[in-house]
Subunit: 337 residues, 2 copies
Amino acid sequence: MRICLIGFGAVGQGVVKAISLKKRDIKNKFNMDLKVVGVSDSSGSAINPGGLDEDLLLDIKSKTSKVSNYPKYGNSAIQGIGLLDNIDYDCLIEATPTNIETGEPAKSLTLKAFKDKKDVVTSNKGHLALFYNEIINKSKENNVKFKFEASVGGAMPIINFSKKTLASSKIESIIGILNGTTNFILSRMTSEGSSYKNTLEESQVLGIAETDPSQDVEGIDAACKTVILANSILGIDCVYDDIEIKGISNITSEAIELAKKEGYLIKLIAEVSKDNLKVAPRLVKKNSPYAVEGTLNMATLKTDLADDVTVIGKGAGSLETASAILTDLINIGKLKN
Amino acid sequence: MRICLIGFGAVGQGVVKAISLKKRDIKNKFNMDLKVVGVSDSSGSAINPGGLDEDLLLDIKSKTSKVSNYPKYGNSAIQGIGLLDNIDYDCLIEATPTNIETGEPAKSLTLKAFKDKKDVVTSNKGHLALFYNEIINKSKENNVKFKFEASVGGAMPIINFSKKTLASSKIESIIGILNGTTNFILSRMTSEGSSYKNTLEESQVLGIAETDPSQDVEGIDAACKTVILANSILGIDCVYDDIEIKGISNITSEAIELAKKEGYLIKLIAEVSKDNLKVAPRLVKKNSPYAVEGTLNMATLKTDLADDVTVIGKGAGSLETASAILTDLINIGKLKN
């Protein structure tokens, strides 16, 4: 499987590292040859039909921050969508930053790859939150595979879990913590009794919250994931604007203290069901599956046969997110064999 | 797919109920026709090559407790292993009670079905804990499918999860709560401050603990599941006698209180790794994935790429366990198509 990777930030680098670590295992276990033939970042690209060296890619990127500095095969003239016309590949891994205003460049990249009859794996949320149905329909029209486990919850692999491991049950609703940054802030406010403002600042210092934290703390990131789960697991036709969103910036340490005294925690909860599509702070019971701390994500699937089943995992992280992308690649490879 | 079901207790009845509820869905979604052609309990059997009526089976069993009373197709002369020579079927669902001394009748039933080139799905732990490798090898020799998700943790579907949803990662160890009864007892002792003896009695009144609770409280049930996970997920060749086992009957309310003060809970934890195969009471942190209460089971898979991923679900329950058996049936059906 010849891979073209567009987007070489934390997720993209995680993918290349994971391929370097696991390609021998994947060859042995699934009879799949993973070969990275093209990588693009904002500096340009590196292209080699014979396969790029993963460790060298990572080294060049970490030392110079430009993939176009890759020896011999580096190219500062070809970049992004332009790369797709300049290499022969089987699967696009689309790992550009999420853009919730336009869904770009993820949308154009994905549709271009579909048109060229290529499979796509993405970690991007923006285009899915805005244009889920259009994108899925285009993948079907072109008879290509499209997978996006990594777009929701990094290493909390809930989409494949629903479809494969819970094949016998109908999923009736999903309730979960889909954003790690807000879970970290609320957990710290609970354990330390600190204010929202101070805890946010601490999270920024630790690199857990971004300089502009609004995507996380205003519930935007969790809402994008809500759209993706609603469409892909529950078959609810919805877009980002259908989600009722309330963030955590008004939560006081007093409210948390009050909840704590009664045996509850405050968490930013996403609810995905026929009746409710919303992200809002809610009370959850201590020592329940919802009570996970730190940057963990979790989701409880309410099912008809298996009752409640919960998955907990890291919501972010370079290698963790790459694990979801690699599982998607393996599943595409299996479908092709 | 023509199904022969041996063992018509809580799990067996759950399977028949689940098939009744879901056979139309399964036909539509997976193009599989599930047909129950034979059912056996200790009274005899009901056999109809054209298919038995699921709701009538459940009704007869609940009203008379004997499946042999099934109108027209009931038979008190044919029972258990004898049934396998008297019907034509594709898959045996083996749901007899676990026997940790001999593994019977599960072992004989399973090997007989393999010899006859039939696939087998089981919820039984005994034969797997005692003879895992022998049984797996026989299934391979006979080129039949053998699945046993329901043997570990009912609706905490960890085996399929490891193999399918986490396909890209190597599972390095598993740490979990694999027994619901002991989790209930320890959770109640923690919330109520009650003694082990009183809490056990309360659990027996509620039907959560059995009259002879030793399989649960002495850690035997969790140890059987430890063997199954070690072999099937981690590839560790081991049997029941290799597991170091310590139950919960010596846990005092004072110990629980002391742990609580320091932010910990006491849980009966199974550890499955190359270095450790053991079941023992251990301290876990509050508000961690290990802190689940009631009869819930959980397991944290420590992986190389995805870091820690946890699954939580009901460890028992008629329909919940049936959900795992039905997913196994669906997976067998997919492999055949």
